[in-house]
Amino acid sequence: MTDSGMFGARGTGDTSGYSGLVRSPASSGSSERPYGGYFDEVADDLERAYPEFSDAIERVVVDRGELTLHVKREKLVEVALILRDTLKFEMCMGVNGVHYPQRTDREFSAVYPLLSMTNNRRIRLEVSVADSDAHIPSLVEVWAGNNWHERETFDMFGIIFDGHPGLTRILMPDDWQGHPQRKDYALGGIAVEYKGATTPPPSDRRSYK
């Protein structure tokens, strides 16, 4: 994504003195206990049921009332099985890829929102991998409903889910080149002229970032 635009604004681009919101950096550290709510109980239960907890869970982040467990990809399936069977997270609400090109060796994140209907709880698993080695073990064996979600994430980001029963494109045509949701993939579009004025395509318009 380019930050240059017609005005070449840098930083927040805010020169008005307005913008009361303070821009906080993306959280990279772990949260401290107590996490609050049922999050401590979830963490305790997982630690008890899974002796390798400290090895498998890189970070525990609590932000805006949501718990995120950053899991090493080698341990993802083990953690998922314990969460499903022992902690009763019966449902996985799919997988959502995010591309952070500026994060060296951790460019891709795969985020799995989990739901426990038994305990009425939600948590989130996050796995980060490098662009050069974008492989994550598939969770289709754990939650069959992840099948299409993993295909979509593969289609959009090029993350390869190892062990998926049929990892093919799902939204884009089979012979499509590239993975559209990556940040280095151009949005495309053409300039539109109307009564002598030209509007550039959205990705080329002035940006305020």
Partner: protein, 445 residues
């Protein structure tokens, strides 16, 4: 089949002979197929098939009339909404998400706006009147969406009259939407921080009349379909999916509730103040198409109940704000339909053009640049007519979303087509798919 068709010629492949049916004579096709030894045929159903609920392509493997394998081909309506949103500001995002699941636009907008509000940390600052309007609009939308599900579902199974009734009711709701937001579909009415504009004058009595009319009208479809022996034969025991299957496939909404589990996010994880409304979660224990049909029919009455309670609340909240007080987030203008037919706020234009330079700058910055959203990620789910609609939103602190992903219930639930239809008859696929009620705009996004 004797003339050569350059667009769809018959040809031999490693899998066997490919037969063409474009413009050919049906009898000669039957003859040709009849001459082959095996019974197994692979048939493409859709994407332009009248009963596959939009541009859904089903690839069927048949033994006679028995379905041995079903695969779905999707992506025909992929419009890159998630990618496009990364190039627009947070407010403009509403205009995109409303076009995903086009039968439930207000649910898309609510899920997205609740996520943006959670990122902003203003969830509790959204005025009560705005939340009540959101609930009322969503429940009206649930009615119009269920009406399409019932109407097209019945039509696809060969019953045309229920569709006439269903679309008559849907029209009542769409007229209300037009009165309130100016648009019948894709309204972009719910905005981060509240709703776009307050209800117009005289809206509440009109909605009350519509509720009364719909409650009476719903009886027509009930008396046509509930207990109808032909309808029962086409729906009972069809598209079977039990609780274990539904859970592992991540099914939510009427499909999950047809297994007897009363899982409704409005009850178990309330948002927009749903905990203040009195309504029942409808379930069935049949796990089949008929159960899902009954659930949708009975949810109509529950939605009407919620709308009535919302109207009572709105009467008490007359004149209260419908947008957050923070002028760094709320768009400045109270829009109203002007004499020129455009939505303008003349007082506001007078102020920014005539009296206050600072107001003009503020207006310009807010509308073109948009507001900043603190960095972080959230997942917010609402109960759409089809199940859990989840918005995963990531912000890097800028004025545009860094990544927006929707967990679309249609997309997820369509995976169950194989589990519901394999081993059954080809005609029953239609009922099974209709009972999932996939909206392809939502599936493909």
């Amino acid at each position: 089949m004797t003339t050569f068709d350059p667009y769809a010629p018959s040809r031999d492949t490693t899998e066997g002979t490919v037969f063409s049916v474009t413009g050919g004579d049906w009898d000669s096709l039957i003859q040709e197929i009849g001459s082959t030894k095996e019974e197994r045929v692979v048939v493409n159903m859709g994407p332009q098939h009248p009963s596959t609920h939009g541009v859904l392509r089903l690839i069927l493997e048949l033994e006679g009339e028995t379905v041995t394998e079903v695969r779905c081909g999707i992506g025909y309506l992929h419009t890159g909404i998630e990618k496009n949103m990364e190039f627009r500001n947070w407010t403009q995002g509403t205009t995109f998400v409303t076009r995903m699941d086009y039968l439930g636009p207000l649910f898309n907008e609510t899920a997205y706006c609740l996520a943006v509000e959670k990122l902003l940390g203003i969830t509790n600052d959204v005025p009560e009147r705005a939340s009540v309007i959101r609930v009322m609009m969503m429940e009206l939308n649930r009615i119009s969406s269920h009406m399409v599900a019932l109407g097209t579902g019945a039509l696809e199974l060969g019953a045309i009259t229920p569709m006439f009734f269903a679309f008559r009711e849907r029209e009542i709701v769409l007229d209300l939407f037009e009165m309130i937001s100016g648009l019948r579909m894709n309204m972009a009415y719910i905005r981060p921080g509240g709703v776009q504009q307050d209800l117009p004058e005289g809206a509440i009595p009109k909605i009350r009349d519509a509720v009364k009319l719909m409650r009476k009208n719903f009886k027509d479809n009930t008396s046509l379909l509930v207990g109808n022996s032909i309808w029962l034969k086409r729906t009972q025991g069809i598209g079977y999916l039990d609780l274990a299957g539904a859970t592992t496939l991540g099914m939510t909404g009427p499909v999950l509730r047809s297994t007897g589990l009363p899982w409704d996010l409005r009850k178990v994880q309330p948002y927009c103040g749903y905990e203040n409304y009195d309504f029942d979660v409808i379930t069935a224990d049949t796990c089949d198409v008929y159960g899902r049909f009954l659930i949708r029919m009975n949810e109509l009455e529950q939605s009407l109940r919620i709308v009535e309670q919302a109207l009572d609340k709105l009467e008490k909240l007359e004149g209260a704000p419908v947008m957050v007080a923070d002028k760094k987030i709320a768009w400045p203008a109270q829009l109203a339909l002007g004499s020129d037919g455009l939505g303008n706020s003349l007082n506001h234009i007078r102020e920014i053009m005539g009296t206050s330079m600072e107001s003009l700058i503020h207006h310009f910055k807010l509308v073109t640049e948009g507001f900043h959203v603190p960095a972080g990620q959230v997942y917010v789910a609402v109960e759409s007519p089809r199940g859990e609609l989840g918005a995963s939103v990531v912000s890097d602190g800028g004025t545009r979303p860094y990544r927006v992903h929707f967990r679309e219930p249609s997309f997820n639930n369509l995976q169950a087509t194989s589990a519901m239809s394999e081993g059954g008859m080809i005609a029953d696929i239609i009922g099974a798919v209709a009972s999932i009620d996939p909206v392809m705009g939502g599936v493909d996004r």
